[in-house]
Symmetry: C2
């Protein structure tokens, strides 16, 4: 097993990516190949010597910026850390690729270099999020802004394979994100997707609304990539606003501060439980290779978790499971 | 001025609706007509005697359940509290209608009894939410699951009129909810709506993403009713999950409890600042009458706030402003 890791992806790259990689190589004994400009990486890595032996470097001279246009990047930068990392997966030199870089670019390179799993109409990005009863996977969260009902059915099939293999859920419930409980509710897309899901062999539990998401009523929730993207970003925004408001309120008076400091461990526990860093990145499902996209704002722990998720996907033979899930459907 | 209030709408109706109405009539001197079955209301109101003189009762024998099918309700229950309240607005006996009842039914009755403002393609529901810099209005949040770009342009025009008249903002910025900053991002609907908004005479500031919503970068944000509904419900769900997690963490150890109790006023301040009850209901914009839909879980304070919002809409001549905003556009 070997994991290819984009050293140059993410808002705090390469520093935090290197730290996450070193932690993962040391503590989890993961064989990792870091991709990026050799001179940059070598000088940074020097301060961490001796490096764990399972950590390798591969020179990738080009870097894709976080806001670079995906098709331009793919065209002009064949030797970027993203392009070369995915090429390692394609050629079998690596079993998975992990990046906290430009999501659009990762998708574009992956579709081009790896291609789609036969039968898959559109790859999708899944986001794992915390619920009151464990974890759920929401997909698509941004790969396809416009969707057909058949895409949503395939997202559900891929999601079930992922939840079984990587999240370790045996009996996966599938739900449709919608704006009401009844089958007749929602957009045309939602109504037709409901019918397809109900006719499928999946364990479809019906519609869930936005406020149901944290309750863990289904392990896989499907929606179009526009809605899914808005949902995860809204959740992040609300979380941050609320935490900031609480922080401000608790430091607003002198006599709150001591009490607040006593409660710091409790707040940390909440933050840890709900922190995206714990959820280790979003799988890009449907391409012929294991690809995990970590949050652009990943810290070292988030990178380490994303690597662990990639390993779990490889060890659970996720690709075979996805292919089988798609092939078994009419 | 007279406000018609559906006494039977909401999860805790009629009790909390009556309490909210009495508070509003006493403290804000609002002339209110409560609609509902006379026997039910009279026996409940008896315990609040003497009632404020500006509070009246009107017998509405039928009640629409929260989960009743809107078209069935409209067909079978002409004399429901919703139907009769909107009829009061149509006939000029009331200047506005407020209900915490079945949203779909309120929309269906309102479209039927009041009709649309000339030029409006589709009425929309707006939701006012707290931001770091005041309040913003998101629309549509559920009236139209499938939208055309021209609807979104009209939502923006109506939203600006509302923000000026009711929220008291003079220089209203308009944004499009999208999944990226660039004009080429997002669904077909988003891309075409972007073009229309940019060509309009509105102060269009471009795309906002889900995590931007709490930052107050625009006073009016438009989206289709599917996405908008999922967004407000997701925000509500995340808020509740986080508050519940914090509550649990703070009571998890004996020695946290004293500190937590000292901080109770600070938590209350945060909850008050972010509580939907402070934002007083969602306007149904585009019908020929002022209609305010309060949250189904409204408490008495939320009802009182919704009534205040309705008064503000009447006093600011919202309907005329909406008509003008639409008429002034090509």
């Amino acid at each position: 097993m070997r994991l290819a890791l984009d050293a140059m992806g993410g808002d705090s790259a390469p520093q935090v990516v290197l730290e996450g990689a070193i932690e993962a190589a040391r503590a989890d004994q993961l064989p990792i190949t870091l991709l990026g400009p050799e001179d940059v990486l070598e000088s940074l890595l020097a301060s961490y010597a001796p490096l764990p032996p399972s950590l390798q470097l591969r020179h990738a001279p080009q870097v894709v910026a976080m806001d670079e246009h995906p098709t331009v990047a793919v065209r002009d930068k064949p030797n970027s850390s993203i392009g070369m990392g995915l090429e390692m997966v394609r050629s079998g030199q690596a079993d998975a690729f992990v990046s906290a870089g430009n999501t659009g670019a990762i998708m574009a390179y992956a579709t081009l270099r790896l291609g789609r799993i036969p039968g898959i109409e559109r790859p999708a990005i899944g986001a794992v999020f915390p619920t009151a009863r464990g974890k759920s996977l929401l997909l698509d969260v941004g790969a396809n802004a416009d969707c057909k009902p058949s895409y949503l059915l395939q997202f559900a099939q891929m999601g079930v394979a992922y939840a079984q293999g990587v999240l370790g859920v045996s009996d996966v419930r599938v739900a449709l994100l919608n704006i009401g409980e009844e089958p007749t509710k929602g957009s045309q897309l939602a109504q037709e997707s409901y019918r397809l899901l109900q006719e499928s062999s999946l364990k479809f539990v019906g519609n869930l609304e936005g406020n149901d998401l944290p309750h863990g009523l289904a392990e896989v929730i499907v929606t179009d990539g526009f809605t899914g993207n808005v949902v995860i970003k809204t959740a992040e925004g609300v979380y941050e606003l609320l935490m900031a408001s609480i922080r401000k309120a608790l430091t607003s008076h002198f006599h709150y501060r001591l009490a607040a400091s006593l409660l710091r461990p409790a707040f940390r526990a909440v933050a840890r439980e709900l922190d995206y860093a714990e959820y280790g990145g979003a799988p890009l499902l449907g391409v012929k290779g294991v690809v995990v996209i970590a949050h652009g704002r990943s810290n070292a722990r988030a990178i380490r978790r994303a690597l662990a998720v990639a390993r779990q996907a490889v060890e659970s033979s996720l690709l075979e499971a996805l292919s089988k899930a798609i092939a078994s459907q009419p």
